[in-house]
């Protein structure tokens, strides 16, 4: 409590009061949870006493005292479970809010650490209040409710290309690395436990198999912890996908090892046959999980093909099918995580081609929201369970475990990298290896697995749990906090925020075809050849089945181009016109610089007066900053249609254009009411929302011809409906009462000259465009 209020006081006096109120409210509600169960005992009496008094004659002489009709009664039991769940979720979300009110803290300490501390505090409070800490780390709750959203979020937005390119390395780390860790830690722990014959301690009693089981629980890198920490350090894509991919794929290994050792720890020995069966089991678990996920993914894609009339429930299909994939594979003891990943990855390209833009946004935000809440809850619960759980501290065991974890990880990473670098084109440097080793965080999955252990078979369960918690705390706190300064210190390459440009897309595709062609000429069936075959199969058969209508045949380049245009259009509107440029470099280049020039007709030049050069430049600058930038961006969707809401149907072309211009100018003020923030701070969830789905942000269904459209064509003077700039200025001067729709020119000195200059400049700046490139002979003012 002291830490919280002191952090509050740092935030400033003005903020203290509402935050103290918040704190009091939270405490009050929590304490209520302890008081209410006592009060609940009395409510059934009230209810029951009610009943007989209503019926008039009672046989058998009940001495009923007629109580007063309860205007207000309390029945906590009725809502107990949902109430507590809602309370926890509320607490988690409020904590998340609170951290960002104290900016300095969130820069030094990663969120996961803070959340664990909060959990510890809450757990401490509950214990202080004398109540029994709710068993929040119930394995069912964890594995069935808290974990799936996070994994689904990760799988759905998994960057497929880098994942596939590095799949060999990832699998190597996940499978061989985890096995190495498990056996190394388990074996050495057993050895350590067996020494000290002089001091007979509990450690002697631990057999080899329980040690190996412990080793397999503690060796797996945890996806939740990795995600939470890596999100904040913005490391380059390669390292991120390596560590993260490893944490996802090692689930299969963990599942198999866990079940294997748990089964046989009871028996006491493991034969070779059983090891072999274990290996088979691993293949079944991993491949089975992937297969189950892929099947559900295809089902989801197929279903989404028919949802064009019921757009509202489209996101639901994505969530439900994925969850079913998870549950189905858990049912067969296959790897649920791999099922979720493969389901998300398989269904995504097809579902995104089928669903509407709004559904896409819904899916994205729901996934981010759920995964964010889940992650927060997991860390808080970890803290609470730490306070609660029966602990049995053993110095030797715990310290040896921590040391062995570190050592095993380092040796494993170094050894495997040495081996994999023989096959890799982009070799992993020492710096990379260090980050991969250092980023091997353990998390809640290890704890939950430890929690699941049966007390009878494993009498040392508490010692295991204590050791697991210590390792988790160590990795999350020490490694989590220091990884960011280390990344800066070692100057590890950071994530590039560069937008995917159309040139890169063109050349990526070009390269793919080129390399496939060269391989064919060489007669060598390398992986380009097979990738190309897969793509062609996909295009020819799969897409036709799973994608509705026209979109099935759309080549990837065109789809990318449309997405990019849509994104630019939306960005333009959100940023309020020319204020913020989508491209990093402010540029005055427009289409006319690229198109071969046409000579300006002589008649037009003669009609316009001459101007002093300086004035001309000044005015040109003014207009350029407003008009030309707008035009440059607008041209990219000039002849493509912006889909308009149906209820704007009645607006005329002219007013539409006016609205467009005016909207851009006005949106500057309205920016704060937009739901999508324009500049996100460095928080993990915002980053996740922004970065994870960047190139695939928006999808648009171009049902061209059937939908009312806006044709934005600002500067073609020959079209009768065009914006007549001169008219605008004149009307504005006359002070028209319909000023809402008028464009207000910037009031600068020399306005009267400016009015005439606008003509010449509008001509100069006029963008003939591919569709309207004749008739410049027509004088501007008829």
């Amino acid at each position: 409590m002291t830490s919280r209020s002191s952090s509050r006081s740092r935030a400033g006096f003005a903020r203290r009061l509402p935050e103290r109120g918040l704190l009091l409210l939270v405490l009050l509600v929590l304490l209520e949870g302890t008081v209410l169960p006592l009060g609940a005992a009395s409510s059934p009496d009230v209810g029951h006493a009610e009943h007989p008094s209503e019926h008039g004659a009672e046989p058998g002489g009940h001495n009923i005292t007629k109580k007063a009709f309860p205007v207000l009664s309390l029945d906590y039991d009725h809502v107990r479970l949902p109430f507590e769940i809602a309370l926890w979720v509320l607490l988690a979300s409020l904590m998340k809010l609170g951290f960002h009110l104290v900016p300095r803290l969130s820069n030094i300490v990663p969120e996961s650490c803070l959340l664990i501390v909060v959990g510890l505090v809450v757990g401490g409070l509950i214990k202080l209040a004398g109540e029994k800490v709710p068993p929040v780390m119930n394995a069912n709750v964890f594995f069935l409710c808290l974990l799936p959203p996070i994994i689904l979020d990760a799988g759905y937005f998994l960057p497929i290309r880098p994942f596939m390119e590095n799949l060999g390395t990832i699998l190597m780390f996940a499978v061989v690395g985890t096995l190495w860790n498990a056996f190394f830690i388990g074996g050495l722990l057993y050895a350590v436990c067996q020494i000290q014959p002089a001091n007979p301690s509990d450690l002697h009693l631990i057999g080899l198999l329980p040690c190996l089981l412990f080793g397999s629980i503690i060796s797996a890198v945890d996806p939740v912890a990795v995600l939470a920490v890596f999100e904040e350090i913005h490391i380059n894509e390669l390292l991120h996908i390596l560590v993260f991919g490893e944490s996802l794929l090692n689930d299969a290994v963990t599942v198999v090892l866990y079940h294997l050792f748990e089964e046989f720890a009871g028996v006491g020995t493991v034969t070779l046959m059983e090891c072999f069966l274990g290996f088979i089991s691993f293949l079944v678990v991993a491949l089975g999980g992937v297969l189950v996920g892929a099947i559900y993914g295809i089902l989801a894609a197929f279903t989404s093909r028919f949802t064009s009339h019921t757009r509202v429930i489209e996101p639901l299909f994505v969530f439900v099918y994925s969850y079913m994939a998870y549950l189905s594979s858990e049912m067969f003891h296959l790897s649920g995580i791999m099922a979720l990943i493969s389901c998300g990855a398989v269904m995504r390209p097809y579902v995104e081609a089928n669903i509407s833009h709004k559904s896409h946004t819904t899916i994205k935000y729901f996934l981010k929201m759920w995964s964010s809440v889940s992650e927060t809850l997991i860390f808080i619960f970890l803290g609470v369970a730490t306070v609660d759980g029966p602990h049995s501290w053993n110095w030797t065991f715990v310290t040896v475990t921590v040391i062995l974890c570190l050592v095993a990880r380092v040796i494993g990473v170094v050894g495997l990298t040495f081996f994999m670098n023989k096959f890799r084109i982009v070799k992993l440097t020492t710096k990379d290896q260090f980050i991969i080793a250092y980023g091997g965080l353990r998390g809640a999955i290890a704890f939950a697995l430890g929690f699941l252990l049966d007390k009878e078979h494993f009498p040392m369960r508490e010692m295991f749990l204590t050791a697991i918690i210590t390792v988790i705390f160590f990795t999350v706190f020490v490694q989590g906090m220091t990884i960011k300064p280390l990344v800066d210190l070692l100057a590890v390459k950071k994530k590039q925020e560069a937008k995917r440009s159309i040139n890169e897309e063109i050349h990526t595709q070009f390269l793919d075809h080129l390399l496939t062609g060269i391989e064919d000429i060489c007669g060598h069936y390398g992986h380009h050849h097979w990738k190309d075959k897969l793509n062609r199969f996909n295009k020819k058969y799969v897409k036709k089945c799973l994608i509705a209508g026209e979109r099935a045949k759309e080549p990837q380049l065109i789809a990318f181009y449309h997405k990019m245009e849509m994104k630019q259009a939306i960005e333009l509107v959100e940023s309020g016109g020319g204020a913020k440029l989508p491209s990093a470099v402010p540029s005055t280049v427009s289409m006319q610089n690229i198109q071969p020039k046409k000579p300006l007709p002589k008649t037009a030049e003669r009609a316009l007066p001459q101007l002093p050069k300086g004035r001309e430049e000044e005015i040109r600058k003014i207009l350029r900053s407003n008009l030309q930038k707008t035009r440059q961006r607008l041209h990219s969707y000039n002849r493509h249609t912006l889909v308009v809401d149906p209820y704007e149907d009645g607006v005329t072309n002219f007013i539409k254009k006016q609205k467009m211009i005016q909207l851009e100018k006005k949106i500057k003020e309205m920016n704060k009411y937009l739901t999508v923030p324009s500049a996100a701070p460095d928080s993990p969830t915002m980053c996740r929302a922004r970065l994870a789905s960047d190139p695939q942000a928006y999808n648009v269904k171009l049902d061209s011809g059937k939908v009312p459209t806006i044709q934005v064509d600002l500067a073609s003077p020959q079209s009768p409906d065009s914006v007549n700039v001169m008219d605008e200025f004149i009307k504005a001067d006359a002070g028209d009462e319909d000023s809402g729709l008028m464009m207000k020119p910037p009031r600068k000195p020399g306005e009267e000259d400016g009015a005439r200059d606008q003509q010449k400049l509008t001509r100069c700046l006029s963008d003939p465009g591919p569709s309207a490139d004749e008739d410049e002979d027509e004088p501007f003012l008829p």
Partner: protein
Amino acid sequence: MGASQARYQQEYHDLVDKSGFSLEQIKNLHYRFHQLSGNNETISKGNLDIIPALEDNPIKSQIIDAFFDKRNQRQNETGSCEEIGFEQFVMVMSHFRPPPSPMTDAEKEAVRSLKLRFLFNMHDTGSDGTITLEEYRKVVEELLSKSEHMEEEVTKDIADAAMLEVASTNVPHMGPDEFYEGITFEHFQQILKDLEIESRMHIRFLDVDTTTMHCGKFSS
């Protein structure tokens, strides 16, 4: 027999120096060359045209032309040949060698420049040192040529947008009357510098030392 063997050995050693391949790889390539040329000394465009696997490739003609383009021989000549010998074949193939493993930054730049030059030559069919808007449009058209759903307008738009992007990044402050002639090689390098061409543009050549899985070796 002995004499021709010796001649081949000498040739091979020259090629090893020039192209950077290993002796084993050169031998394998020579074997393939003989297959393609029908045991002749040179191959012509027709020989490459009939490779069945290339049929589905949208940029097939560009790839074949690249082999016959003199600019790719690193001898500062321009124009194209009718037929090429084994040496030219190997020189073109050397553009696709995997990069040597630890590279200094200078080496990386050199390799990247070489590979980008190859790509540039493929686009610059007019051999004038710049990629004009027309040439770029042709590139995009060819890329989309194999897909059924092709609209003229969209192809042009994509090329225009790409050109605009190159111009905006490289020459950000152009006056309204200036005309952007075409993409020069420097601009081309600038726009593609994030793609890390040196590690992506390669294929694994058959070699006893390289650990690759080759299924279906040498079938055309």
